[in-house]
């Protein structure tokens, strides 16, 4: 049979390919950054210009050394770093001198070698990725973000030797590049929205749900992309996708080194605006200059920047919470700021906080230490942590006594901010310490009441220099939870179809919308994977992948997928629940399935078929407990009639809400 021969031929090809790759391994060195935040310079010495920075733990490829300095590369950036600030290792993350060129149309990047590992990104055809190693027929590749990922060997072409300049063979993609470019001044890409109001979507394609909308002029940090879509970071910290044709890509300096620091007090009242800038209407009275070193930090979720001081002036763009801009001048309630593209505009003081700017010192260490402020409003305790340099964080809860721990990686190891005793409803005391083994700041909130009732929510500013932690005593078990409701199938995939033609995708969607409505009434933040009759992607594989990705990106607490069952024999009927026992969170999944099944059987009165542990794709990659509801059998005449009716869908939704409550109560 010819198919058999073809299959064998493919297997033989794979083996040839893998042995080709392993033959080409050459050892390069990896530098791990030891210092807190370390400058990258254009040459080997402090006399050279700073062209970027690296954070503690960053992994960089070492290209060369000169005296006490090492030449390193990170993505498309090459630069010099002071050798005492790095640890050089010749470990497994070494370049092979080979480049994988993506041949499949859009190729997934995964966290491990195999399709069972979570998808961490996608790259378009033509993308060139340095190969670090291999496992089976999977290749470990280096991304421009300096992270590593795995790509299937059969979807790439491996090219032999390291290319010193971009190859002409493949189109240069927007995202990762495997070739090393000459030193550039800039490390961060910014997408500037060029169209009026633009949809931002959960994934790269118009079929994905809209997660938010952004206005013209909005500036978003680029974290990746395909040929047609740009992966951007929102001010919520989430990433999302925006069409490439609707943005202009710009390069910007790293967030910690503002492009236009107000280094000396302006000698004239108003610096003249850049050419092409519309004149500012400032009818009554002149604007006053501001002393240097002040920044406006946006405190509203978004604020309009106007061409002049007053609401009669047109809005030129929007700025977002946490963004910082040097202040040039003031007039009444208006402050004139310099945007990161060099233009100037006016914001109202009600939208911003005016703060003294920190200026970086020469060596990459920063003046100023991190700060902590605790306040109480509306029954919620708010803790704001600010650092002069970007930092990463991790939160976890401990019991006996109940406390919330926030570890801060990358904040300066300087004098610690003092703790606080807010005497709030939720927090009795806030303590601050330094974890020298982890080189991290630690904030501990001692919780006033039992852990079960205290909720917290963490929000990080886009520049990662400010963290807001909110703690409160929840009204009930659902208040403040984030829950993903997933209506199964959709669009070209109808799921099962009943004997009279009622479709599973329609039941799933109607019931999910009703479930979301009821959960929102309980104070739940509901995320629906779809709200219309669509498939999330062009194939079922893409669709299922997008659903779990939406859940993981939203850091949800729970995932509930809604389906209707089917069997060839129409006599089969009843309710069942499916879960996927992960090694890490199987307890939660089984508990969720049990709670939902009990509630559905009680509320709907259909036959109890039980709960089943099965390898379901939509549940497989979830970072939180998840379960899939098979409400009743669409293939059964009686149950099809039930499933199609509003009241049955409403009862199903009530049962799911009750089941979730029961899950949290036990």
């Amino acid at each position: 049979m010819s198919k058999k021969l073809l299959f064998q031929a493919i297997i033989v090809c794979c083996f040839c390919f893998v042995s080709m790759v392993s033959a080409g391994l050459a050892i390069a060195q990896t530098a791990v950054v030891k210092g807190n935040v370390v400058n990258l310079r254009s040459g080997p010495g402090t006399g050279y210009a700073v062209i970027g920075e690296a954070k503690q733990g960053d992994r960089l490829s070492v290209l060369d050394t000169s005296g006490e300095w090492s030449k390193i590369s990170r993505g498309s950036l090459t630069g010099w770093i002071h050798s005492p600030l790095i640890t050089v290792e010749a470990g497994n993350q070494t370049a092979t001198g080979q480049t994988a060129v993506v041949t499949g149309s859009t190729v997934r990047l995964r966290a491990g070698a195999g399709t069972s590992h979570p998808v961490v990104g996608e790259v378009p055809a033509g993308t060139r990725l340095p190969v670090l190693g291999k496992s089976g027929d999977w290749l470990n590749v280096l991304l421009s973000s300096n992270k590593t990922a795995w790509v299937a060997g059969w979807l790439v072409r491996v090219e032999g030797s390291p290319a010193p300049a971009p190859s002409s063979a493949a189109p240069t993609p927007a995202a990762p590049s495997g070739t090393l470019l000459p030193p550039v001044q800039i490390a961060v890409k910014i997408a500037v929205v060029t169209a009026g109001i633009v949809n931002v979507r959960a994934s790269a394609g118009v079929s994905y749900p809209v997660v938010t909308q952004v206005n013209q002029g909005t500036r978003l940090a680029v974290v990746g992309g395909t040929n047609d879509w740009v992966n951007v970071k929102l001010n919520t910290g989430q990433t999302a996708w925006i069409a490439r044709s609707l943005v202009r890509l710009e390069e910007s300096t790293a967030p910690s080194t503002p492009q236009n620091p107000a280094s000396s007090p302006p000698t004239t009242a108003v610096p003249s605006p850049p050419a092409g800038q519309p004149g500012q209407g400032s009818p009554g009275g002149a604007e006053e200059p501001m002393p240097s070193g002040y920044v406006a930090v946006v405190k509203a979720s978004s604020a309009g920047v106007r061409e002049g001081p007053g609401v009669q002036n047109p809005v030129m763009c929007f700025v977002f919470q946490g963004e910082r801009f040097p202040v040039l001048a003031q007039k009444d309630i208006w402050r004139k700021i310099t945007l990161s593209d060099g233009r100037t505009g006016w914001v109202a003081t009600s939208q911003v906080n005016i703060e003294k700017a920190e200026t970086p010192s020469r060596d990459g260490s920063f003046d100023g230490s991190w700060t902590l402020e605790a306040s109480e409003s509306g029954g919620r305790t708010q803790i704001v942590i600010k650092s002069p340099v970007p930092f990463e964080y991790n939160t976890f809860t401990l019991s006996g006594p109940s406390r919330l721990v926030i570890d801060l990686f990358g904040v300066p190891n300087t004098e610690l901010p003092s703790g606080s005793t807010p005497h709030s409803q939720a927090v009795s005391q806030v303590r601050v310490g330094w974890q020298s083994d982890a080189a991290a700041g630690r904030v501990v909130c001692d919780l006033a009441q039992g852990l079960g009732l205290t909720r917290h929510r963490v929000e990080v500013s886009p520049d990662r220099k400010s963290l807001k932690v909110e703690l409160w005593i929840a009204n009930d078990v659902l208040d403040g939870r984030v829950i993903v409701i997933d209506p199964g199938h959709g669009g070209a995939d109808p799921g099962a179809t009943g004997p009279t033609g009622y479709k599973e995708k329609d039941f799933n969607l109607q019931t999910a919308l009703e479930t979301a409505r009821l959960l929102r009434q309980e104070g739940v933040e509901v995320i629906l994977t779809r709200t219309t009759d669509i498939r999330l992607g062009s194939t079922t594989a893409e669709d299922l992948d997008a659903r779990s990705r939406i859940a993981n990106q939203s850091n949800a607490d729970l995932f509930v997928s809604i389906h209707a069952n089917a069997n060839l024999d129409r006599s089969k009927h009843g309710t069942s629940l499916y879960y996927h026992s992960h090694p890490e969170n199987h307890v939660g999944c089984a508990k969720l399935a049990r709670a939902l099944q009990a509630s559905l059987v009680k509320e709907l009165g259909r036959k109890d078929l039980g709960i089943f542990d099965r390898q379901f794709l939509v549940l497989k990659n979830l970072n939180m407990p998840g379960a899939l509801v098979e409400t009743a059998f669409l293939s059964n005449h009686e149950e099809e009639r039930l499933l199609a009716q509003d009241w049955f869908q409403n009862r199903t939704a009530i049962a799911i809400v009750d089941g979730i409550k029961a899950y949290y109560n036990n």
Partner: protein, 179 residues
Amino acid sequence: MAFWRKGIVLVTCLSILAIGLVGCGNFRQTGSTNSIADGTLEPTLQVNLYFSDRDGYLRVEKRDLPDNQRIMLAVMEELVKGPAPGSKLTDTIPEGTVVHSVILDGKVAVVDFSEEIQTNHWGGSLGESITLFSIVNTLCQFEDVERVEITIEGEKVVTLAGHLDLTQPLTPNENLVRD
């Protein structure tokens, strides 16, 4: 209750070909034979086929098949044909489906079906499970097979009907089987 395990697979080795018994340690003689056109008799093997009962569980139907090199393909072809006339069991494979090939890759049997197995499928978590595990349980009765990978028209597939993960070869499911 490992009723489907290899050791219990009932198999025929033809009594006339006594020498054939030596290589068939696992198989039990049943005495049945198949006539071949040239008048010789071919050995047969009694195999388990997993079909669905009315309640959505898998049950075994035994069938004698010629014991030769294409036994795995033959067993899949029999599964596609469905239960014997008059049986209380029902089909597990959608109408119109053709088995293209069964290839052994180590201990993994790779079965390739025509697209009808997907386009004509009735869906549902149960419906999908029954189809897949009737295939997997049936093939895993052979000692050489530990896991089963399903391909459609020669292509790897991620899922059959949108629920079960097919990116990894499947192992048999005993919980779906009733005696």
